[in-house]
Symmetry: D3
Amino acid sequence: MRHDSRQPDQLRPIKVERGYTKATPGSILISAGDTVVLCTASLDDSVPPWKKHEENPGGWVTAEYNMLPGSTSPRKKRRADGRSSEIQRLIGRSLRAVVDFDALGPRTITVDCDVLQADGGTRTLSITGGFLALLDTVLSIPDTCELAEGEIFDPKKVFSNSVAAVSVGVVNNQPVLDLDYIEDSTAGVDMNVVMTGSGDFVEVQGTAEGQIFDRGLLDAQLELATSGIQQLSAIQKECIGEVWPI
Amino acid sequence: MRHDSRQPDQLRPIKVERGYTKATPGSILISAGDTVVLCTASLDDSVPPWKKHEENPGGWVTAEYNMLPGSTSPRKKRRADGRSSEIQRLIGRSLRAVVDFDALGPRTITVDCDVLQADGGTRTLSITGGFLALLDTVLSIPDTCELAEGEIFDPKKVFSNSVAAVSVGVVNNQPVLDLDYIEDSTAGVDMNVVMTGSGDFVEVQGTAEGQIFDRGLLDAQLELATSGIQQLSAIQKECIGEVWPI
Amino acid sequence: MRHDSRQPDQLRPIKVERGYTKATPGSILISAGDTVVLCTASLDDSVPPWKKHEENPGGWVTAEYNMLPGSTSPRKKRRADGRSSEIQRLIGRSLRAVVDFDALGPRTITVDCDVLQADGGTRTLSITGGFLALLDTVLSIPDTCELAEGEIFDPKKVFSNSVAAVSVGVVNNQPVLDLDYIEDSTAGVDMNVVMTGSGDFVEVQGTAEGQIFDRGLLDAQLELATSGIQQLSAIQKECIGEVWPI
Amino acid sequence: MRHDSRQPDQLRPIKVERGYTKATPGSILISAGDTVVLCTASLDDSVPPWKKHEENPGGWVTAEYNMLPGSTSPRKKRRADGRSSEIQRLIGRSLRAVVDFDALGPRTITVDCDVLQADGGTRTLSITGGFLALLDTVLSIPDTCELAEGEIFDPKKVFSNSVAAVSVGVVNNQPVLDLDYIEDSTAGVDMNVVMTGSGDFVEVQGTAEGQIFDRGLLDAQLELATSGIQQLSAIQKECIGEVWPI
Amino acid sequence: MRHDSRQPDQLRPIKVERGYTKATPGSILISAGDTVVLCTASLDDSVPPWKKHEENPGGWVTAEYNMLPGSTSPRKKRRADGRSSEIQRLIGRSLRAVVDFDALGPRTITVDCDVLQADGGTRTLSITGGFLALLDTVLSIPDTCELAEGEIFDPKKVFSNSVAAVSVGVVNNQPVLDLDYIEDSTAGVDMNVVMTGSGDFVEVQGTAEGQIFDRGLLDAQLELATSGIQQLSAIQKECIGEVWPI
Amino acid sequence: MRHDSRQPDQLRPIKVERGYTKATPGSILISAGDTVVLCTASLDDSVPPWKKHEENPGGWVTAEYNMLPGSTSPRKKRRADGRSSEIQRLIGRSLRAVVDFDALGPRTITVDCDVLQADGGTRTLSITGGFLALLDTVLSIPDTCELAEGEIFDPKKVFSNSVAAVSVGVVNNQPVLDLDYIEDSTAGVDMNVVMTGSGDFVEVQGTAEGQIFDRGLLDAQLELATSGIQQLSAIQKECIGEVWPI
């Protein structure tokens, strides 16, 4: 039995609030239990410097991740650290895996994931919520926009798939889904899995946290993650509703 | 007439949500119209390094201010800048003006003001909300705590007063209260006023923004600010209710 | 009675040396009692990056403020800090308030205020001296220069006014003018006022330093500042002499 | 067929030179094909600051990773970047997974992995070589050393296992072992696997590089990695010879 | 003939103003022609961190060098650069070469050399003036101070010698003394020489600036430097007068 | 007698390995006794930003110097410091002294000197080895390259001379050549000399390290350096063989 009475394969309650703020076209407040992340996506009609010399540069998607100082106790100091840098690289890679940059056209979307409250699983929730903010931003681009190649912009062509993520781990030798902070801090193995809505892997990151693990434990965690991400993908689709373009 | 139909002396609608997050003893989500600030206050049972060598160092209160990248359009880059540094110095000074550090005892409270959405007046709203987060944190300290001098901690002795702030300015030659972004960007004079609940000044900062101003315009703005802060002080008191210690 | 026998409304002795160094067109060594600031103004025939895309960008004026390590005891470490950044923003705003950027033409003037000796009032003296360095630099521009619009450069059109500044405060419950370090460190209220030569306000910054203040004390300080700045404006005009263009 | 005629499950030629430099107790020059890494391990008889307040703090192992500017073409600028930070965190975690800190005693070992030439697989080769440098450093500690608990230091108790790493990936839809740069830059999936000498997982990091992957492809890569690491573990053991303590 | 009519072996006019500012015990404004440096020396009654663990740590002398932005045209940006760091290391080494740290006792003297106007030879003038500021600071230490060893502080024992510096170079194939900026920028060889008042070398730094040089040219420059430093040493001694302790 | 039985005028054994790595056209592993430096030279077909506005900008040569953390004991932290900056400026100046930038054409060569093991004399060995890496890089440029002026690139015209360097010093009052770390740390005078293959000076840097020195000691050291550099120049020439272009 888990400390909060969940089943090993049970997610925490997920809530999604679309359009939480107005300054950016995509703004998602997403929570899983007590973990709360504000994901906003800003649109910039230019491409990064390293793409400027390409003839038809296509677009770019990048991400930033940050924990607010008051999101955790003791207070987290404001400063870039290796952990944040590593997490935002993961978020960016995961989102880019389902985007067609030619179809996006010469624009940059920056997805900011700011953790308002941290209770485990902030990086995976940032991916799940960040995808929705990215999607809303793409949907906000007028379909009269012209692409570099002379074709008309079509949001349906931008995404090859949806993407979501969840953490799994081994706590007391038991594989479990969606660890909160208490579980995370006692887990022997910690794993983050990113998958598409159609069930393929985008990223698998498993780490021994005091307990090396054999193939059986690895497989059991991958099963839990697959089932959890199926549920998260359904929640994403329901949140967007009819305009879901994928 | 103002662009949003307010009277010159009318505040935007103020909302305060107490205990918005759980990780810190004080957590206030405050909004004035479309400006939204999350104020959290963290408690640390030590004093700053430069106070460590004092015999009875008393406590300390400090503040940090930050705008989330997605709080504004175009997106604001994540980095410390002169403006943020200046604002957080103002917030810290304003809060410290009403705190008795001996009564607080040897602890440091850090008030973090993170702007989730920026539509003008973020620094003054940070002071008004930050005071509430600070107050809740002081109220969370058990009254069995002993101070350095052997006296018992009493939250009523920590605060000599409450503090709140508001912006005023001159728009189209008309002094107005609580400017939003549209007004702020066309104002000829921009002024931030910090006052106690009992009506004294803590800080007055008036700046010519393209329009130098005579004594008459200065006085008119100070009147508006005084009236606005009276209303904000009442809202603060109502928010905390019976345990209001001042 | 003040510790140095001055009257409450009396300035410290002011000395101005014009053309103190030769490397820059404006170079003013200004002192108020034991506070000494070297103000130099450098001319650059380009505009800041953020103005480069404007068609007729006009000019720009910016300021930097720094205390030499040996200007104070104990020695001040060489490093940018929040206080310096805040002060140089104030100096820059104050100087820009009286400059017409179109009349200046596409050039940038940087006013450097380096404090050689600090005995209170360094930021206000930097404004008073910095204006003179700026003025001399503008006067050094040949009047055969053409502006973007095809008009001829005229230094008389660059300045709408002169600008000077002084500190006031409340020491032992008595409002006083032009505080030195000893007074500054015991003042209950600290205020910096920037005004034009014609007597209008450019900036008002009053801060409670341990003593909140009512409207009466605020007004008394504003009176002192107004009188002090009148004297400083006269000294500025006398220093420049016949070529004074305003 | 691979571009360098290797079989899909074939490692590049591995060379290990023990004691390459003399300034540190562990110094390993390791190469896999044209990838060359110098791994040195330095011993410091103190513990990190964050462990100093523990009563019996035990030891610590940390790692740093850096590519020399001339290790690649075009030249890599000297500066810390997110990629390096992420890689050195991986190396540190991997080495710590097999170390008993109480048995190590209150000392810190820093393993520096400096890439002299980069042709793919630098992070995994750093782990494989870094373990040997770490091992040699532990072997250099005199066995007369006393631990905090009064027990005598025994290098055999420090390591619960050996650790090695290899990259795998999917190139032209074919899972392959130990990618060089040419393969790495065209791979659809890129995976780094860290395992112990006894065949358990320490870290699994798989990333879609333009190609999402299903469970079958994931499993095939894990098979290749397992076989590759068995060979690397044997090479490690042979390199150290009779004093191998595990 | 030199462009300013000096003989090859002639110094520029040297002026020294002792006690230019009051905040530090040593404060020297020194000029050589149009090069002007303010040298202040601050006294701190502690030793650097790396000396704290020594039983009788003795004292320390360190130097910092900086050019004010307005000291040169075009304006020099405020920021630490390699050149400044190299120069302040040279100044520090040169001053330390004549100081007995045991006789100084456990205190740190920081000599700040801030260039107010730069016309060549700023680093050597900083050494010549910095020595005077250091000397005045040592003379300000009360002779009742006790040293770590129980002996009484005696300024006469602190200095084994005086130190001064000058630049020499080869301009138009002619060795010349004390180059100004115009000569410096066309010199084929640039050399800085630091010597004691008794005529021994402390530092010799000769650099080919477009012209490699043979032994004859090197010797000719060393002769010029020796003669120049004799004059500078005499000026130093005259400036301090009867209390000269060496 | 020296501690390692060398004569006062005897170099340590010099070894040079050409083409040590393949990623850069010049790659030299050079050692003098236990000091080992890897010198690589990278070619970039552009000129530095500050040369971009010149019509026929010619080329540029720059150098970077770094000690690997494990090159010394105790471990050296990875970070830029004043010493490294000063050394790489010396290396760059020395190499540039023998290069004709017009003959090089509009390209930048960066010479990286990474110290793998430090036992004294790292900066001078970096110059001696760095020149060879630079030379090999110039030799790698196809002679069909056209220069800005329409002339054909000719490596023979790029170098006016070869350059090499050595340290000398005074140990136990005896001038000695090519100090190792043990000698260096007890030397009273430390001197680095850079000369061309034809015997002229490029740079002379002599520093009193606790012992001021008269002209006689200076001359004796210069003799030793001259003889040492003759030998190093011969080794350089032999290493390159028939294609030696000077």
